[in-house]
């Protein structure tokens, strides 16, 4: 690849296209906005919990759901609508499509979560231990889980509902093993080990460091894990989508 200007332009145009077409699709609104809100209301309201203690978990869950809700929809939708073939015949490469899809998810995640954070900060006394860590958490978390969304969209199908189902099957269990409903600091033994397998744990922990200053892992470990997750998810998405191109599907 020699033409970097064309490459970066293709990413920007794909991101813009995704934002314009997919942000207001039903599955994105349901799985990206309503779902985390319902989870919040179900688990937090009426249980007399310490909102400040649990707020980093709620913020992590919000970013997780919003950022990972756009990606799974795009490719299956485009394959069903038969716009995917036209897209790949334009001056784009596989990497442009993956990064463009990822960027759309990440921007959606950051925008919605930032609005929720700001609204909550107005009504509740939310502490802020480190604005820098909060910013890094937003950036790394949104990209990592947007990459998860893009990876989930990679298997061959032209039926978006199949992918949304698969996506829920993977995303839902993660929120129960990531220190959202029970803070990491209160977990021990096998349960603590189980949480360490979920990438969402490290985002929630990073938000704990940024807001309450009560993280379990050092922030650099959280960031390193999230970076590794991004590389892993994008790498797998590329391998699967490249295989699809070779097979012509």
């Amino acid at each position: 690849m020699t033409d970097y200007a064309t490459f970066f332009r293709s990413i920007a145009v794909i991101t813009e296209k995704n934002m314009r077409i997919y942000y207001f699709k039903g599955p994105v609104v349901v799985f990206g906005l309503l779902f985390p809100l319902i989870m919040f209301l179900t688990f937090f309201i009426g249980r007399n919990l310490d909102l400040v203690l649990f707020f980093p978990g709620f913020l992590g869950m919000m970013l997780f759901f919003t950022a990972s809700s756009v990606g799974p929809l795009i490719t299956p939708w485009e394959k069903r609508e038969k716009t995917y073939e036209r897209l790949i015949s334009l001056p784009v490469i596989l990497e442009s499509i993956i990064i463009g899809d990822l960027m759309a998810g990440a921007i959606f995640g950051i925008a919605i979560t930032a609005i929720v954070f700001t609204a909550c900060a107005v009504f509740f006394p939310i502490p802020l231990a480190s604005a820098g860590l909060l910013g890094l958490g937003f950036a790394l978390g949104s990209v990592a889980f947007a990459a998860l969304g893009t990876l989930l969209a990679s298997p061959t199908t032209d039926n978006p509902s199949n992918i949304m189902m698969l996506s829920s099957l993977i995303r839902l269990p993660l929120i129960f093993i990531s220190g959202i409903f029970i803070p990491l600091s209160q977990l021990t033994g096998p349960l603590f080990l189980l949480t360490s397998l979920s990438p969402l744990t490290y985002l929630v922990d990073l938000f704990h460091a940024a807001l309450n200053g009560d993280a379990v892992y050092p922030p650099w470990i959280d960031m390193l894990v999230l970076l590794a997750v991004i590389i892993l998810f994008v790498g797998f998405a590329k391998v699967i989508q490249k295989r699809n191109l070779v097979k012509g599907i």
């Binding site: 690849m1 020699t2 033409d3 200007a5 064309t6 490459f7 332009r9 293709s10 145009v13 813009e16 296209k17 314009r20 077409i21 609508e81 038969k82 716009t83 995917y84 073939e85 036209r86 790949i88 015949s89 334009l90 001056p91 784009v92 490469i93 490249k242 191109l245 070779v246 097979k247 012509g248």
Partner: protein, 307 residues
């Protein structure tokens, strides 16, 4: 320099060989037709040429740029209308064209000027702000073409661009192809419509079972089968095919209310038909002889292809 140079392209899907050692060279400025029956490998070849499908073997160069090694530079030189591809139904006609133009790096003023010009030429100026989801198939195909030509590509590739279109849309597509060629674009098009290929193309390749079986100008391909002409004849009542059994007549097909009788000796065949009609007390309503057609060349070259 050749506009498109595809060398030794091969593609298999599992045990099925879709394209087997296909090579095509298309000189700049020509209109190249790619003909073949269903499943012959046309679309697979086009998908490899446009960089949509990765070939098992072989190379493709667009105006000297290798599609696999430098896909972005190669794709910038192309405009593609895929058979299985359409435009975004959630965007308006105008938004679709501008989006395509952005991929090619056109500036805002250039995008808008060109989009206005193309929409006007394609008869969609009044529908520019309507969502494509409200368009008919023909109108969608015109928007698809608009997106492919917005950057005035040096190479325009169209996969079955007129299939399923109404007469008006079809004529607009053909006019646009001719216009783009006059403006300097090299055209590669696949079509099922042999007369369309005959009327448009300066070179035609016929592909069958994944292999190129002939490449030449339509007139030369027709002359290859100069021994085969046909007589079109109709009678005042229905006849049996046995009426046409005679030396020199290769086959006879019912053709609407007529019969098409293929022969390598028209004089002998006409005399036979006339005498057979007299014996059977049949009146000949019409009779005409015809020169060999590209369709006949196509049928001969792809004989035995699955339906």
């Amino acid at each position: 320099m050749d506009a498109i140079e595809a060398k030794n392209l091969c593609k298999s899907f599992g045990p099925v060989t879709a394209v087997d050692d296909v090579s095509i060279t298309i000189p700049e400025g020509s209109i190249f037709g790619f003909l073949g029956p269903n499943g012959a490998g046309k679309t697979t070849t086009i998908r490899m040429i446009t960089g949509v499908l990765i070939p098992d073997a072989g190379t493709v160069r667009i105006l000297g740029t290798d599609v696999q090694n430098d896909p972005l530079a190669a794709k910038l030189k192309m405009g593609v209308i895929p058979e299985n591809g359409t435009v975004y139904s959630d965007l308006t006609a105008w938004q679709n064209i501008l989006l395509a133009a952005k991929f090619y790096g056109m500036d805002r003023a250039g995008r808008e000027e060109r989009a206005t010009e193309i929409l006007d030429r394609l008869g969609l100026a009044e529908r520019r702000d309507d969502y494509v989801r409200t368009f008919s198939k023909g109108m969608r195909q015109r928007i698809s073409i608009a997106c492919a030509i917005v950057h005035s590509p040096p190479v325009l590739i169209l996969d079955e661009p007129t299939t399923g279109l109404d007469v008006y849309s079809r004529r607009l597509v053909i006019d646009t192809v001719r216009h783009m060629n006059r403006e300097g674009s090299t055209i590669l098009l696949t079509t099922h419509n042999i007369e369309e290929a005959n009327a448009l193309c300066s070179i035609v390749s016929i592909i069958n079972r994944g292999k190129i079986v002939a490449t030449d100008s339509p007139e030369k391909l027709k002359k290859t089968f100069d021994t085969s002409r046909y007589i079109e004849v109709s009678f005042d009542r229905a006849v049996e095919p046995g009426l046409f059994s005679a030396p020199g007549i290769t086959r006879a097909e019912a053709w609407g209310d007529k019969w098409r009788v293929y022969t390598d000796d028209p004089d002998r065949a006409v005399k036979h038909i006339a005498s057979a009609a007299e014996r059977s007390r049949l009146a000949i309503v019409s009779i005409a002889t015809s020169n060999p057609t590209l369709e006949e060349a196509f049928v001969r070259l792809t004989a035995g292809a699955p339906p």
